[in-house]
């Protein structure tokens, strides 16, 4: 049932059961708040989101205020502004105000609200309450109970989302502190969400803290490549430095407000020191390291091998985009008629795991997409690891697309070892680590953060990638671009043969 209400004299249609806060959020009407979070239950304790309702004697909190027909709400009246200012001052009197050394600075609710509704001269002149600081309370978590404003978001997250109940509020009054239970740490795969939902700098991430001030980062809205769930993410990077710093969840139907710690690690392999920055080819002496080689030469060599080879196979991991698979298969299957396309995956028994929240054992973002594109080219397959089938095949050319994130394959080292024993391998990869092995050639690929494209998650939902930066090196390119180059090279060879 729809209800008509007004906020600041503007009319809105609300749903029965909706709160004023929800309605205001929906229409981008600004009501400051700390304890309210759309993914958690209502606590109503920060008392910040005060609004005025016509005909009611007291200000009310918007987060627990159900809409009623004809309700007239004001979020900008003088009493409301006064209440917001004071609410902020109450929050800050015992806050250490250590912004210069706090990693939350730049994305802190206290700072933002001070600029928006505060700007008062502090009136508290007595000593502040001192509380424990720098507590190592769990995976990726540092807790500063002095900075904490006791909004209880973290406690509710532990109770309601992960149902691990790892946090409580101990003692009372202004001595109250957030803490873990005796001899217990918070050790699940979702701990960094506590850092995200903490509106101040009480919880900071061990991984991110002191690495980069947030105002020196930008965020790209893209998708986590860590598993088949495909959580929407904000990927923080510095475009000038081409460096990546962290991953945070962004709201989507798929992942709501959360993501796992494993997925948050998906920025590490993007940075230059982990990356394969150019193409390589085998040295004459098979025991010597591979040699950095011009990409054009490598593509030329591959085109030649394609002409000579009798038995050609593709070995494909489900970590690339639908668009890349289409380009790849259009050339190899559609044009060259190669039908030996094998999936390369981690152990099948691992891929069926699911933790009940978001994380899936199938740590490939595009398992569904790969099978669907294969089917478009008449190759019908079930999900499965065909690495051994390929290794046992008698191929004189194997084009292998390595996983973007090597660590997601439990047997990656054995696989890479086995692969180098095959007669002629063109390995397409983005991780520098592949240079520990010897292949006929290695081609450098872009990573998920450097390209657009589509994944299909475990349920078939399309997940769109958006590029954050241009590739870290001019010598690396996407599968689509490589295939184009290769096709051009093959055509040139054909033309040459045709004319000779």
């Amino acid at each position: 049932m729809s209800i008509a209400i007004t906020i600041n004299e503007e009319e809105f249609t609300a749903e029965q059961g909706q709160t004023v806060m929800e309605l205001a959020q929906q229409h981008d009407i600004y009501i400051p708040h700390f304890c309210w979070h759309p993914g958690l239950s209502i606590a109503g304790v920060c008392r910040f989101c005060m609004v005025e309702v016509e005909g009611r004697p007291k200000l009310e909190i918007a987060c627990n205020l159900p809409v009623t027909a004809g309700m007239q709400v004001r979020t900008d009246s003088e009493p409301v502004q006064e209440a917001h200012k004071w609410a902020l001052e109450f929050h800050l009197i015992n806050h250490p105000l250590d912004c210069p050394i706090c990693d939350q600075a730049g994305e802190c609710g206290l700072q933002d609200y001070y600029m928006q509704v505060g700007k008062y001269q502090a009136q508290m002149t007595q000593a502040k309450v001192l509380k424990p600081k720098k507590l190592d309370v769990g995976v990726d978590l540092v807790l500063d109970t002095e900075r904490c404003i006791l909004c209880s978001r973290c406690v509710r997250f532990e109770d309601e989302v992960t149902k691990s109940g790892g946090l409580g509020i101990f003692d009372r009054g202004d001595r109250a502190i957030i803490g873990t239970y005796q001899n217990k740490r918070i050790e699940h795969n979702y701990t960094t969400n506590l850092v995200d939902i903490c509106p101040v700098g009480a919880f900071t991430s061990k991984d991110f803290r002191f690495k980069k001030r947030v105002w020196f980062t930008q965020e790209a809205q893209t998708v986590c490549p860590g598993c088949a769930t495909g959580c929407a993410i904000d990927l923080a990077f510095n475009a000038d430095l081409k460096r990546y710093y962290r991953i945070k969840p962004r709201f989507s139907e798929v992942n709501a407000h959360w993501m796992c710690n494993f997925g948050r690690g998906m920025y590490m392999h993007l940075n230059v020191e982990q990356r394969l920055l150019s193409a390589y080819s085998a040295a004459e002496d098979a025991h010597k390291p591979m040699l950095k080689t011009d990409t054009a030469h490598i593509v030329q060599a591959l085109a030649e091998q394609l002409q000579q080879a009798q038995q050609v196979a593709l070995l494909v991991t489900p970590q690339y985009t639908v668009e890349d698979y289409r380009a790849l298969l259009a050339f190899f299957v559609g044009k060259l008629g190669i039908r030996n396309v094998h999936q390369w995956r981690s152990r099948q028994e691992d891929t069926e795991k699911f933790d009940g929240v978001l994380w899936r054992g199938d740590q490939n973002p595009n398992s569904r997409g790969l099978l669907e594109v294969l089917a478009e080219f008449g190759i019908d397959k079930q999900q499965g690891n065909e690495f051994d089938t390929l290794a046992a095949g008698n191929y004189d050319l194997v084009i292998a697309l390595a996983p973007q994130v090597l660590a997601t394959f439990a047997d990656i080292e054995t696989d890479l070892q086995k692969l180098q024993e095959l007669p002629w391998v063109s390995l397409w990869a983005s991780a520098k680590q592949v240079l520990d092995y010897r292949y006929q050639q290695v081609l450098a690929l872009t990573c998920f953060a450097e390209q657009r494209g589509t994944y299909r998650n475990y349920a078939g939902v399309e997940r769109q990638l958006h590029a954050a930066t241009s590739p870290v090196s001019a010598e690396i390119m996407s599968i689509t671009a490589l295939v184009e180059k290769l096709a051009a090279c093959c055509k040139a060879q054909e033309d040459e043969h045709g004319s000779s």
């Binding site: 304790v45 910040f48 929050h91 009372r172």
Partner: protein, 423 residues
Amino acid sequence: MPDNLTKVKILTAFEGVPDSRTLTCYEAGGGYQALRKALALPPSEITAIVKASGLRGRGGAGFPTGLKWSFVPQDSDMPKYLVCNNDEGEPGTFKDRYICELSPHMLVEGMAISARAFGANKGYIYTRYEFFEEIAWLRTAIDEAYAAGYLGKNILASGFDFDLDHYEGAGAYICGEETGLLSSLEGKKGQPKLKPPFPAVSGYLGCPTIVNNTETLAAVPWIITHGAEAYRKIGTEKSAGTKLFCISGHVQKPGVYELPLGYPFMKFFAEEAGGMAAGRELKGCIPGGASAPILTPAELQDATLDYEDLAAKGSMLGSGAVIIVDAEQPMVELLKVVVDFFHHESCGQCTPCREGTGWLANIMHAYVKGEGKESDLPLMHNISQQMMGRTICALSDAAAMPTQAIVQKYQDELKNYLQAKAG
């Protein structure tokens, strides 16, 4: 005195009677006849009688009791609970323990009748941890009532079941707030719950629950026996019946007195309590427990002890704890004690209370040492203003209201104190 202000002994009927706590004595004085009468009535009739009697909550808020019961959804198939708030913690209050001392059976009987009214089959008495003797007396009374068939299954062959248990608090003032009490009863930290929903709809374990004060419940048997009209005749139109007043401070005869509501304050103070102790002079009076704003002697002259007159004077009847302040009592000390108390007892959930009570206490600590400033007084007024009506429960208001009153009414004394310290 007019008829409506003639003293009647309802809650203190057994005052001076030997062994008044025993079942035998209580029965001999007519005890449990009200329960028999109530069990013969349709439950809705009990609520109707209590509504008509004008009985209001005696814990401090003064909410009409029958109206509160009528909020329990009757179509709910969830179990319903009746909880007695015996967590008497408001500084200056010692009336509920007096009922436990005189007539614990009056409370047990009142609970059985009230439970019947809205269909609760389970009740708890939640008693303040420090009331060691009272707890023992209540437990004995419950055992006796079970043995006599006044509690348990099929009470007096009426088909009505009512089980009553006793629960000891753990020593927090906030558990006297009804939802804080329910959190504690559920085994959780004693923190008030966000409203709505109210306990009558979703209380103990999420089930419909009525929380009533000891004194409220103990008045129910008399009302059932004598009828709503008889109770209504006592007191004033909006404050019906009698109330226990506990007077303390420098008076001749501190103690608990049962008086009709509307009784003149000065008459109570001078005649019942015997006026000021020898050589003492009245400086003010906190009429309803530490959270009630203080009244000056001038304000007290025509004050009457009822909900409406004290509210009109900017204070409140509260729990009926009348604290007499004599002229030798420095107001800075009194204010420091008050804000210290609320700072210590704030549960810490809501920011304005958690931070505001601490801030007020900090200011007063410095002030008492002579390290205050005159500007502290308007600051304390402003802090208090922003603590009122801003939180889940009334503890924040309870700290703010007396602070504002003392700061305003005794500001000359507070300013002089600073100058004297400086000089």
